[in-house]
């Protein structure tokens, strides 16, 4: 029996790569980029392999457990790779590859330390997806957040500094809440391993559980801040609009980390039918999620800036996810996961696209001169050099249209399929769970209206940009910028075409999630290897 080292690779690869990148000077940019790129490629391959293993019965129960430092589960830190986390890893790697590729020509060249920070960000995200230990989750959250602070600030200018003041402050407070929640959970259950917590909750007396619930509530606030639930997510549009495009694209994923953790936590801790804690907080999630949808939709409608629009659309998608999680129905979760992937790709592609689109409105030279005058040394990247790709306008408009369709959930792209999946699940609940109630109707109506609102605002923006703009010269786009956007969009097309296998996979993932007992058995049952021959007495 050998440990499945593959599971920890998504954390180690970026860490090692980042460590190697730190001492390299900016002059060796090409080498740094190559290293970084190789690492992301490695992560992509790892994620694919993990996904294959999770789905092909390589592990008992299709859940891979890795005991870091070889300590059995509730005591040591266990990393858990199941279908969902493998998928999230893949999504991360794909997005990272796109963002990194996009940053090749310009964004990674300005400032210093883009690459190590990027790698550390990936390490944090991957770790957060993998870990099954509450405090370890905190630490990986911090890795992720700290790297994101650095990356949001990347390309020093006033707007970014303003935005990151907010971003950092809010997230620091959220981190404190995370700690408070974790501490409360530890104090009441005496353990940090999620599966173990779940196990212990089921045996707790109703009288004891108040403090635990308080802890979980505070903890959830931290995640919900990350996931930008109303009213905790006001930082998001500002930050998205201010961050440089590749970073903003990665930020999209980070909101999803919040939702992911909520999903995992809730299904694990409160997914059981019985027990004193069953069903805790689901209503709050549903209604909070729906409020978030309303808020995000209103935001989309009332803003003119594309960056903020993308931010609000991320809020809408976050709200949808939270409501879906809170609705507590496995088939809906399946569709919600599909929606998660689709909307992440769409919003990320849109964020990358915005910068390219902006080149239509204000051709590069003008904007450069303007900023140079205002802030003599801001990190505004050089105009792309060399030849641009042909048919730039056609690409931009097509890509924009695709983004708009996906964000609005119109056919024929993945956005529609996701929406359809959710509606179908809402209308046709599994046997025994009863008919759709007023909450379901409201949710459905909200999702439809939000899609519509997204459409109206995207349309307004698109018409104004593509049709009403006085075009001087067609924008100059680099292949390295066009390719990632195209890939993200093509992936979304692929998601539509291959919806069936994807839905099947997600259905299995969701079934896993809804079986907390299985996690407990697998995670706590994984034995540590018999100790290295001698673990002697200390002197």
């Amino acid at each position: 029996m050998t440990p499945h080292h593959l599971i920890i690779l998504p954390v180690l690869l970026p860490l090692l790569c980042g460590a190697a990148l730190v001492p390299l000077t900016q002059a060796r940019h090409r080498f740094k980029f190559a290293l970084s790129y190789a690492s992301v490629l490695g992560q992509l391959i790892t994620a694919c392999l993990l996904m294959a293993q999770a789905d092909n019965g390589a592990w008992p129960g299709d859940i891979g457990v890795y005991l870091a430092a070889n300590w059995a589960a509730p005591f040591g830190i266990a990393l858990v790779a199941d279908r969902l986390s493998a998928l999230m890893l893949l999504l991360t790697a794909v997005l990272a590859l796109a963002a990194l590729h996009y940053a090749m020509q310009r964004w990674s060249r300005i400032g210093v330390h883009f690459h190590p920070l990027f790698q550390f960000l990936l390490m944090g995200i991957n770790g957060a997806f993998l870990t099954h230990d509450l405090f370890n989750l905190f630490v990986f959250f911090e890795v992720m957040l700290a790297a994101s602070y650095g990356l949001v600030l990347h390309g020093y200018n006033a707007e970014r500094l303003r935005a990151s003041m907010q971003y950092i402050a809010v997230n620091l407070v959220a981190a404190l809440m995370f700690l408070l929640g974790t501490a409360l959970i530890y104090a009441t259950t005496g353990t940090l391993n999620l599966a173990d917590v779940a196990l212990r909750i089921s045996t707790m007396a109703p009288g004891e559980i108040g403090l635990l619930k308080t802890g979980v509530a505070v903890l959830a606030l931290a995640f919900l801040t990350k996931a930008a639930m109303w009213p905790l997510g006001f930082w998001l549009p500002t930050t998205y609009a201010a961050a440089s495009p590749p970073v903003a694209a990665m930020l999209v994923l980070m909101t999803k980390v919040g939702a992911y953790v909520i999903l995992r936590l809730w299904l694990l801790l409160f997914g059981d039918e019985e027990g004193a804690a069953a069903g805790f907080g689901y209503d709050a999630l549903v209604w909070g999620g729906m409020a978030t949808i309303v808020f995000g939709a209103a935001g989309m409608l009332s803003t003119d800036s594309a960056g903020r629009m993308a931010g609000y659309s991320a809020i809408v998608s976050s709200g949808t996810l939270l409501a879906v999680i809170g609705y507590g129905q496995p088939s809906l979760v399946t569709a919600g996961l599909y929606y998660l992937i689709g909307s992440t790709l769409a919003v990320a592609a849109f964020l990358l696209l915005i910068e390219l689109i902006d080149r239509i409105r204000t051709p590069g030279a003008a904007i450069l001169a303007l900023t140079m005058e205002a802030w003599a040394v801001e990190d505004t990247p050089d105009e792309p050099r060399g030849k641009g790709v042909p048919a730039a306008m056609a690409f931009l408009s097509l890509a924009f249209a695709a983004c708009a369709l996906m964000i609005a959930g119109l056919p024929p792209l993945s956005g529609f399929v996701a929406k359809f999946g959710m509606f179908h699940a809402l209308l046709n609940p599994e046997a025994g769970s009863g008919a759709i109630g007023p909450t379901g109707w409201t949710l459905m109506a909200l999702i439809i209206v939000a899609g519509l609102v997204a459409l109206i605002s995207m349309l307004r923006y698109g018409v104004r940009t593509f049709w009403a703009a006085e075009m001087v010269t067609p924008p100059k786009l680099q292949l390295s910028e066009v390719a990632p956007v195209s890939v993200l969009l093509l992936l979304s097309v692929a998601m539509t075409v291959q919806a069936r296998p994807l839905f099947d996979y997600l259905g299995r993932a969701s079934a896993d999630l809804h079986d907390p007992g299985k996690y407990a058995r697998r995670v706590l049952g994984e034995p540590a290897l018999p100790g290295p021959t001698s673990r002697p007495e200390a002197p």
Partner: protein
């Protein structure tokens, strides 16, 4: 002991919240520092209060968990202190950066109207 600690944590946390809600970035920084003291203490006491029972298990003795302080919260607090230190440094630098480039130390990077 318990009551004093609870009150102490509460007061420090409250002072931190008050500062956190102030408009100037340095106030927010100080607030964050105070809050992290409170939170660290809070995590720490989650292992309950132990006097003179540091979690050392010297060689030659059989450790009796019931008379030693809970080491886990201590380890967690250590990590939290380190991370708190790092984030304080970061916030500080962002704060002075923002002060320089925006010309104000208001947390929003611009003076409020009126």
């Amino acid at each position: 002991m318990e009551a004093v600690l609870s009150l102490a944590i509460g007061i420090v946390f409250g002072a931190g919240i008050w500062l956190l809600l102030r408009p100037r970035s340095f106030q927010v920084l100080a607030g964050l520092m105070l809050m992290s003291y409170a939170v660290n203490l809070f995590i720490f006491v989650m292992g309950r209060v132990w006097l003179d029972r540091p979690p050392f298990t010297p060689a030659g003795t059989v450790p009796d968990p019931s008379v030693l302080a809970d080491p886990l919260p201590q380890a967690l607090v250590l990590t939290a202190i380190v991370i708190g230190f790092a984030t304080t440094a970061l916030y500080l630098v962002v704060m002075i950066g923002a002060r320089g480039i925006t010309g104000t130390d208001h947390v929003d990077g611009e003076e409020p109207e009126t």
